[in-house]
Homo-oligomer: 197 residues x 2
Amino acid sequence: MQLTGWLATLDGMQRDAERTRRQILVAATEEFAERGIAGARVDRIATVAGCNKAMLYAYYGSKDGLFDAVFTAYVELYLAEVGFDAEDLPTYAGRVFDYFERNPGHLRLATWYRLERPQGAQLDAVVAVNAERLGALKEAQSAGEVPADFSPVALLSLIQSIATSWSTMNPEYRAAQPARTVRRQAVVKAVELLLHR
Amino acid sequence: MQLTGWLATLDGMQRDAERTRRQILVAATEEFAERGIAGARVDRIATVAGCNKAMLYAYYGSKDGLFDAVFTAYVELYLAEVGFDAEDLPTYAGRVFDYFERNPGHLRLATWYRLERPQGAQLDAVVAVNAERLGALKEAQSAGEVPADFSPVALLSLIQSIATSWSTMNPEYRAAQPARTVRRQAVVKAVELLLHR
DNA sequence: AGGATGTAACTGACTGGTTGGATAGTTCTA
DNA sequence: TAGAACTATCCAACCAGTCAGTTACATCCT
């Protein structure tokens, strides 16, 4: 074992491509979540990441490439952490709520993506998961586990909106927001009512 | 009546401060809706408005001042056109849906506003209308016209989210969207279910 | 063991183009 | 002709992206 390398790792000053990559991604996630693509500044990202701006271009190619990396990482984490359950949609909605309460920046990221990305650019992972969920919902409806008032895509759309409704209110309403548990309860309850439960 | 002025108005070539103001506002509304504050370009706005960039600064002071004017105009139109009815919330939700179907840019505008505006800046008009609506909802609940499962602020938040749910989906889901009437029906029905109707 | 060497990680300084905003001067019209 | 409406032109700051060069480190050679 290399003693020099080991000690350097402890005080964190050695060269480490992977660590630098990660630090850039973390800094970029903050910056993009806060300011969007057009508002983000690559110099600020480099400063916060504690590295030179050129590293950012070496690892991610461009500002847009960096945003793609940030957004893809978020989507992967989100899909893995929240999952889906066509047979228990209120609980699913609760998990969506929890995720974005824990990571408010990620909801902003998703919104920037929707606003700033040209129509064409779609993530394969999202498209695939989407199709899978629509199928699962259809089956659950056929099996009578989910009422058929709404089409699968309507259900998905409504539940997503309801789960994030508190965070997407205009700032003027923010003052009136109740505590987290109350907000969560409203989300779960609303989805239950949608499903006649 | 001034004949010269009248004719000139018809072919639109005379000087007219009010017309120029309006054209700037229209062009700016498009630009800001499409690209947000950080992404908007004042030169593009001036070009589309068919006037010199300096006029924009003469009338609206700054890029931010122009955005404020754009956003305030949208809010006024929205409040006047959509209104509110605590005793018939499904219909209200339908009107919200209709408004944003007619003016998809305005929903984007509202989203940019939420993302790009610092917390502090709140519109008095919105705050006032908000308080009024919360009061009306509370009364309707006391009178038993609206069920009390949800607090007034929760109702407002949920209904707003549901009414705009189709437009706030990520682009990956856009392909699966049904026709307008179907979408509208889903919105109205969802609000009815929230209210046990 | 210790010096030479190749290479990946990293840096500082720079650039060409863009951007919000300013200003001095011109044209129109009441 | 006074003043409002409007234009042409300019500018300093900024910004994404580049590049020539430097530093650290692993491996090999003797």
